[in-house]
Amino acid sequence: MKLWKKVYLFTLVILTLGVNLGVSGIVYFTYEQMLQSEKERCQAEYVIMQQNVSANIAEMEQSILLNTEYFGRFITAYSSYFEADTMLIGIVGEQIVVGEASGATDQEFSTEDKIAASQDFVLEDLPKEDGIFVEKEDKTTIYIAQVLDEDHENYRIVMRRTLDSFDETWATLQPLYLIGGIILSLGVSLALALAVRLLLKPLDQLEAAAKEVQQENWSARVHIKGDNELAQLGKQFNAMAGSVEENILKLEQQSQQKQELIDNLAHEMNTPITSIGGFADYMRISQLSKEEQEECLDFIIRENHRLKEISSTLLSMAQMEQEEGFFTVFSLKQLCSRIEELYTKQFHEKNIAFDMECKVLEMYGNEVLIESLLRNLITNAGRALSDREQGRIDVAIYKEDESLKMRVSDNGCGIEKEHLEQIFEPFYRVDKARSRENGGSGLGLPFCKKIVESHNGTISVESEPGQGTTFMISFTIS
């Protein structure tokens, strides 16, 4: 199932990337937003503080001389107004005055002490320039530094706030986001897997069905519900399998028919072969009277004739395989007069009245095969009349409506109803003994039927035992 894995992995990677990027984006955005609001908050406080300090200092300057120490207390006092993690640092010239929010004390600390005490900043770390700075090394710290005002340029106020709670909040949020991201990714991958599997399940069905067909189970089909491409493919597959099944069955049937024909043929030929060889042997090794010898020779000649019939019909049938398709427009009239000539003499000798009437000039078909067709039927008619006194054979060829019709009728012994169905089957004989004596091969009518069918025609027979038989052939003229 490599396809579904590919589809899956591809989609999964994209989705996961997307999800995680999204989550990261949100996380980053949130962070920046939070930081920004902290900054703004500090800034706001700073501004207020700065203005106040500025005002106070201006006030104080009027009254007393401001010095560092005083300034320090001043700063400390301010610090106490802020949150615990805020430190105010005043820088006068080069001296630093630190005010801590956490511990506004009355104690007198020297500046250096104060610096030493609050060791969480280093002088060098203090912003050299004015502005808002964010340090993210250990703890997130905001520094805001600015000159007090234009009148006191040697005073700089630096506000430092360590965002402990911010850091804390963030420390909790971050893993949360991470876990959330992972769970989301897993959830997505699972859901995706299911979705892909479900969608592509029909492919499994198709594969299984195709395998069945390959293993010669021709009736295998798929049942894919829905309307989508896979369902369409399923329908098409079923149609294909149906066609395969039909054709295979047809071929099997044809092959079986051929086999039956061959089997029957072998049987039919074996018998005359046995007889001919047998009688020849018998004559060789026995002392026979002249009369007996003649009897044996009669048998040999008759059986040989039978063999010839079978052989020639077979040849014609084989020829037909080649001729099939060789259609031309030929003169029916000429063909008929030729056939008439052929048969007139022998029928005259047998006292059979023979009449052939052809009203159609031309025909589109295979001349050789049509000739075989007519001759077979006429010969059969002749055989049916072998007992008759006043035998009659009529052949009529004419057009009726949209078809070309041929009729061959005789007033011979006729065929019983129960046999009419089967006379077109190879080797079917109504009366074996008789037809063999008369030289029938059993293949004449099946051959005729084949010829008629290859010309897109139909052949039918009507018969009345003792009265006669009529064969009707009808070709549709295109």
């Binding site: 072998a266 049987h267 018998t271 005359p272 072969i273 047998g278 018998y282 026995s286 074996k432 063999r436």
Partner: protein, 239 residues
């Protein structure tokens, strides 16, 4: 000899089999299908039935079921293994496939008859008595000493009486299959038989072909009490 029924729908084959069987001394009755078979079999006592499988109406395979105690040989064009097996399983003694040689049929008929003890056991030619069961030959009452091979040759000639057999055929029928000698031995043995039994008038040479044992039933001669057919040369008949 035996009374054999031939059931075969093809006229030529029927005639062929009948004439050959008659030539070797059997009597035949022929029918073209299985109609009234049971009645016929009850009426006439047959020693053997030769039965075609593909018959109009009931097939040979179906008919054999009603012929339980008479040996049956199937003769047919259906030569597939399954058909043979079926035929034999239904109780037939043998199964011959067309096309076949008539000599083969005769030989197989002989084998089956022997199996059922219905073949010729005793044959008498003038004053020679041949006991095929005991492998004894007497002439004028006295034992004649024949080698096994000579006896075998004599037996083959009797079984195929009136049919000319080529030297090769005699070799095949009377000698073991791995005999690699020439047909000269046939001539030698024939000479011996003629000499020892005085059968010059009966064992005839067929020029350029082989030999034939001519035995025609003599109506003028009575059969012995044992029901043994007596043969006499037609020369003797005239005289």
């Amino acid at each position: 000899m035996a009374h054999i029924l031939v059931v075969e729908d093809d006229l030529a084959i029927r005639e062929l089999v009948k004439r050959n069987l008659q030539m070797v001394g059997h009597t035949c009755c022929c029918v073209a299908d299985g109609k009234g078979l049971t009645e016929l079999v009850d009426r006439e006592k047959f020693d053997l039935i030769i039965l075609d499988v593909m018959l109009p109406g009931l097939s040979g395979f179906e008919l054999i079921q009603e012929l339980q105690d008479i040996p049956v040989i199937f003769v047919t064009a259906k030569g597939a293994l399954e058909d043979k097996l079926k035929g034999l399983a239904l109780g037939a003694e043998d199964y011959i496939v067309k096309p076949f040689e008539v000599l083969e049929l005769i030989a197989r008929v002989g084998v089956v008859l022997k199996r059922y003890g219905r073949n010729e056991a005793l044959v008498q030619i003038e004053d020679i008595e041949i006991d095929l069961k005991q492998h004894r030959v007497t002439k004028g009452g006295a034992d004649v000493n024949l080698t096994p091979q000579e006896f075998r040759l004599l037996e083959v000639l009797i079984q195929n009486k009136n049919l000319a057999l080529s030297r090769d055929q005699l070799l095949n029928l009377a000698w073991d299959y791995d005999y690699e000698g020439e047909t000269k031995t046939v001539d030698v043995h024939i000479r011996k038989l003629r000499q020892k039994l005085g059968l010059e008038n009966y064992i005839k040479t067929v020029s350029k072909f082989g030999y034939r044992l001519e035995l025609k039933s003599g109506e003028e001669y009575e059969t012995l009490e044992k029901g043994v057919p007596v043969y006499a040369s037609y020369l003797n008949l005239r005289g």
